[in-house]
Subunit: 363 residues, 2 copies
C-alpha cells in the first residue's frame, strides 16, 4: 500500500491528511498523539452517519481516555444554519469544553463545515479534527480550512478560515455511502482533473466501472491525488487572495442553482457538474477551450449519472443569484474559465450577454 499521508504544509497550521481503508480504527491513538490524553472532546455528526459510525467512534475515543460528548444533528444542507450552529455552541458549553479541548466533525461536508465553524468561533477558536464520511468531503470540504454555514439568502455566506489539526479519511466508510452521493463526489474529483491534472482526468475516463465498484486502489489514488492538488493550491493561497479561487471552477452557476432550487434538491456535486459544463461552454467562447474537451466532460459526468443540463431552471433567478454570490465584487458575476484540459485562469467577470447566450444554447 502506498503512503497514506498527505502533508498540508501551512507553517504553524500544518496538518496531515490520513487516507486509508480502516483509518477510523486509529482515531483514538492519533488524537492522543495530537492533543494529549484525557482532554474533552465534542463529536458532531448527523443522523445518517450516526446509524453506522457514531457509537463505534465514540467508543474508540473513550477507550483512548477522552471525555466524550456527542451531538447528532439532522442530515442535510438545511442543518448548515445559525440555529444548528447555536446548538453546537451550547452543547460545547454544557460539555465544558475549554481551549485545550477539541471537536471531531464526523460526517460529510455539511457537518465538517458547520462543526469546523463552531470550532473556529467557540472561545474564539479551539482545535478540531475532520473525519469525512462522504467522497465529496474527503476530496474537498474537509481539506483547506474553509468552514462556514448558509444564510437564508445564500450558501456559505458566513464562516471562517480555520485549519483542522488532522483529516482522517477512512475509505471503507464509502461502502455505506449512497451511490448518488458517491457520484456527486466524483464531480469534484473530475473538477481537479479539469483545473490541474489532465492525467487524472484520463484515468477517471478509463476506470469508471472500477470507481463505481469502489475499487480500493482507484479510490486511494483519486482521493490522495485530489487532496494533494487541493493542498498544493491552499498552501500557495491559504485565504483565497488569488490562486485558491480556481477551485471554484463550476461553482458560480453551481451555487446559484443550489440557491434558486433550495438546498437539498440538487447535491452540491450535481449542481457544480452543471456549473462546470456551463463554465466550459463560456470558456469555448472566451478562451478557445475546445468543444471536444467540453464533450469529454459531459460524457464523463453522464457516466457517473450526473446532470449536465440547466434546462428548466429560470434565467432571471439564476442570474440574480450569480450576482449575489460572495465572489462578486460590485455585483458582477465572476467565473473561473478553462484554457485547455488541466489549465484554468483566475476568476474573471463575464458579461451578461454571453452568460445569457450560453444559458439559451443549453448543454
Amino acid at each position: 500500500m502506498s503512503n497514506p499521508i498527505v502533508h498540508v504544509d501551512l507553517g504553524e497550521r500544518a496538518y496531515d491528511i490520513v487516507i486509508e481503508a480502516g483509518a477510523l480504527a486509529d482515531i483514538g491513538t492519533r488524537c492522543v498523539d495530537l492533543f494529549g490524553a484525557g482532554k474533552r472532546v465534542l463529536m458532531v455528526s448527523d443522523a445518517n452517519v450516526a446509524k453506522f459510525y457514531v457509537s463505534g467512534t465514540e467508543a474508540l475515543l473513550l477507550r483512548a481516555g477522552f471525555q466524550v460528548s456527542v451531538i447528532v444533528l439532522p442530515a442535510g444542507e438545511s442543518t448548515k444554519c445559525v440555529a444548528r450552529l447555536a446548538e453546537i455552541w451550547e452543547e460545547a458549553v454544557e460539555a465544558r469544553l475549554d481551549r485545550k479541548s477539541f471537536i471531531v466533525a464526523l460526517g460529510g461536508g455539511v457537518i465538517g463545515d458547520l462543526a469546523g465553524f463552531a470550532a473556529a468561533s467557540f472561545l474564539r477558536g479551539i482545535p478540531f479534527v475532520q473525519v469525512p464520511t462522504s467522497l465529496l468531503a474527503m476530496v474537498d470540504s474537509a481539506v483547506g480550512g474553509k468552514t462556514g454555514m448558509n444564510l437564508p439568502q445564500g450558501k456559505n455566506l458566513v464562516g471562517a478560515f480555520h485549519q483542522p489539526q488532522m483529516v482522517l479519511s477512512d475509505l471503507s466508510v464509502l461502502a455505506t455511502l449512497p451511490a448518488r452521493e458517491l457520484h456527486a463526489g466524483m464531480a469534484e474529483v473530475i473538477k481537479y482533473g479539469v483545473i490541474w491534472d489532465p492525467e487524472m482526468f484520463s484515468f477517471i475516463e478509463s476506470h469508471v466501472a472500477e470507481i463505481k465498484a469502489l475499487d480500493s486502489e482507484a479510490l486511494h489514488y483519486l482521493v490522495k491525488r485530489s487532496c494533494e492538488i487541493k493542498a498544493d493550491v491552499v498552501r500557495q493561497d491559504e485565504r483565497e487572495g488569488g490562486l485558491r479561487a480556481i477551485l471554484n471552477f463550476g461553482h458560480t452557476l453551481g451555487h446559484a442553482i443550489e440557491n434558486v432550487c433550495g438546498y437539498g434538491e440538487w447535491l452540491h456535486g450535481e449542481a457544480i457538474a452543471m456549473g462546470m459544463v456551463y463554465a466550459a461552454k463560456i470558456s469555448e467562447v472566451a478562451h478557445g477551450f475546445k468543444a471536444d474537451e467540453t464533450d469529454r466532460l459531459i460524457a464523463l459526468f453522464k457516466a457517473f449519472d450526473l446532470p449536465v443540463s440547466w434546462q428548466g431552471l429560470e434565467w432571471g433567478a439564476l442570474y440574480q443569484a450569480m450576482t449575489a454570490d460572495k465572489k462578486a465584487e460590485n455585483a458582477l458575476p465572476k467565473f473561473v474559465l478553462a484554457k485547455e484540459m488541466g489549465k484554468v485562469g483566475l476568476p474573471e467577470e463575464v458579461g451578461m450577454e454571453l452568460l445569457k447566450k450560453v444559458y439559451d444554447d443549453g448543454a
Copy 2:
C-alpha cells in the same frame, strides 16, 4: 496637541488608533484612504448612539462617496446575542456587501464586539472600522482584535480574533456619555495602572475632579496611554497564548458577577471593579501584595462611584460561574494576581478555600 496616533504593530494586520477630539469629522476621508472610494459600507450602531451620531456619520460617509447602509440595534448587553448577529449578517447580504466592502462599528463595546464578529465571519472575513463611543470601548474593547458575543450560559463564549483596519476615537463624543458609563470606563483605565503603569495610577488619583469634568488633556493622556499599553501587550501576544491574559485582571470574578446577575444589572466596568478588589485581596495572601495598595485601589474606585463589595452576591453561584469561565482549563478557576502596583503575573489557579475566605471577608 500631542500626536493623536497610536500605531498597533501587528505586521500585515497593523493599524492605527486615532485619538482626538473631533476625529469623527474625518471618518470619510480616512476611510477613502484605507479602502478606496465608492465601496459599500454597513454601519452598525445602537439606539442610544443613534440619537446623537448615526445620521451625522452616515452623511460623512455618503459625502465621501461610499454606498452606505445602516442597521441600528437595541442598546444593551443583551444585543450581543446570536439573533442580533444574524440580523447583521442578513443586512450585510441585503446591502450586497462583498469582500472589498467594510463594516463600521459605531458604538460601545457591545456594538464593537458584535459588529466586529459579524465582519470576521461574513464571507469569512471583511474589513471593519471601530468607532468607539464609550470610554470603555476606547480604552479596551475596540483595541486588540477580540470580537464576539455571549451565549445564554456566559459572556464572550463565541467570537474571533479579527483586527480592525482603524480605530477612530473621538474624545468629544464622551460629552454625551452618561456619567455612570464614564466611571465604568475608568475601571479599565485604572486596571492598566495596576497591571502596567503605577505612574498613570498616581495621575488618576490626583486628577479625579478633572477627569469627571471631561478635561480634554487628562482624557487624551488616559485614553492614549491605555491604548499604548494594550497595543504593547497585544503586539507581544495577539491570540492570548500568554502575556495577553494579564488584561484579564479582575475579570474572573467580574465575568462571574455579570453572568450570575444577568447582563445589564452591572456595567462591565463595575463588575470588574469588584473583581479587581477581589483579585487584589487574593494577591495579598498569595503574593504579599500590600494591603495599603488594595486600599488605594478601593479608594480610587469609590472616587468614581464604582462598586467595591460583592456583598449580597451568592457564593455558590459565583463559584460555579467562575469555573465555567472560558479561561478555565479542566474547570479550575484562574486569576491574574498582583505582585506590586504596576506588576501582575500570568493567570494561576487559586484553590477554593482561599477564594471562599476572601469572599467571606468581603471588601
